[in-house]
Amino acid sequence: MEEIIQWPLVLFSLLAGAGGCAFAFAGASEFVGGTKRARFAVGIVSLVLVVVGGLFSVLHLASPQHVMAAVRHVFSFSGVSVELMVLGLLVVVGVVYLVLSKRSGVDGARKGFAVAGIVLGLLLAFVTGHGYVISAKAAWFTEILPIAYLGTSLAAGALLFLLVSLAADKEFSAKPWGVPVVAASIVGAVTIVAYLAYLQSAGFDVASQALVTGLAVACGIVVAIGCSIAILRCAAGGNRQTLTVLAAVGFVGALAGGLAVRMLMWLFSEGFMELFEAARVVLNC
């Protein structure tokens, strides 16, 4: 029997989404406040996550070398192709941004690539979920699904940005980032609730997957928002070590919440009709 949860795809969207959104926050820090050193570190970590996520998606294929066929047909504009395009563009933009970060006198160009990185980072998190919006699976056939992918990635990305920035540069101040981090966590929580509500209204009993649903609520909502609010309260003059621990715990919580949403999507992935499932006898319908 085939594994219900396609882990390579789950890890792809989870890591690439979090990486993309962390990069978006690094780009935003060009305008909101931050340090070059912190931005560079976040940029590196984000791109590593995006690339590692991409490699996980390759593991889903029948054979890893098949990815070249997907690259050859990249302009088919299917869900997979769009993911590949956005991922590739983000990596290119990210690398150029990092190169520009090490040069002086290119502020305009660097900020331009930062804006492109913001757009592509957010877009990547969204499109990794949008390919699943297909009519054959009721649990997937809603725009709430990619929005939940984006929301949970946004929460994880915000906290990852803060964590890496705090760890990478002692000059980095968390003060301007308290409100954005709380806002991102709330967006993540709202999208988790929205997807759970959609599943329930579509006839899926989310309580039947109590462990995973509980993970989504406990980590993606309680831990992520709790840590973010604590960060907001400490951001102005709190202990740096405490802030780092809060960002780390919050990031793990947000990531776990995102993982749970993706797991639920697969656990409720029953098709409109599964006519080839083990020989069926339809009784008393």
Partner: protein, 196 residues
């Protein structure tokens, strides 16, 4: 474009599974891989008013084929001459999105070859314009018909013409996929079940 498809007369289907066997034999399908199956629907009702029928299922040749829309390599495609939805095994990368997108779950993943397969209406046979798919040729009940729904002289159109509208059915679709396969089931034998 022609609308080549199967018409299956459930009034005559005995559930012998010859269509499955002939399909596996013709297409050299390995163990566990199917391009068609036969479901037993029922028995339903309360004794003595009970009924059941057999429902052979395979690719429904949707007019709006979601499998084609989601395929990242164009491996799932519609043949421009016959209108049949096919899979180019050389282009298939085994991502299985077509299987997720198929509303009927009638595609099979060949783990050994790493590609997805499905009923092609035996395109290797029917490409000559007059041969029939193996399941149609080998059906001992004479329940299966192959042809172009748009051609009034085709076997499928002629068979459908023998029945009233109340006897002609198609599988429900989640979002306008418009499956072409038609099933004939007369109320005197059993009532058509929408929700399987």
């Amino acid at each position: 474009m022609p609308k080549k498809c199967l018409v299956i007369n459930l009034d005559r289907c005995t559930g012998c599974d010859s269509c499955i066997v002939s399909c596996k034999f013709e297409n050299s399908l390995p163990l566990g891989v199917y391009y068609n199956r036969v479901l037993a629907v029922g028995p339903t009702g309360t004794y003595p008013d009970i009924e059941r029928y057999n429902l052979p299922v395979q690719c429904q040749q949707c007019e709006h084929a979601r499998c084609i829309e989601v395929c990242p390599t164009g491996a799932s495609y519609r043949d421009t001459e016959t209108g049949v939805v096919l899979v180019n095994r050389d282009d298939c990368i085994g991502c299985r999105y077509c299987m997720y997108a198929c509303p009927y779950g009638v595609r099979s993943f060949d783990k050994e070859a790493g590609v997805v397969g499905k009923c092609t209406l035996c395109s290797q046979l029917t490409a000559d314009g007059y041969s029939k798919p193996a399941c149609v040729h080998n059906c001992p009940g004479g329940a299966r018909f192959y042809g172009d729904l748009e051609d009034p002289e085709s076997d499928v159109s002629k068979e459908l013409a023998k029945y009233d509208d109340e006897c002609i059915h198609q599988l429900p679709a989640p979002d306008g996929e418009a499956p072409l396969t038609r099933y004939i089931l007369s109320p005197k034998y059993a009532s058509w079940k929408e929700n399987l």
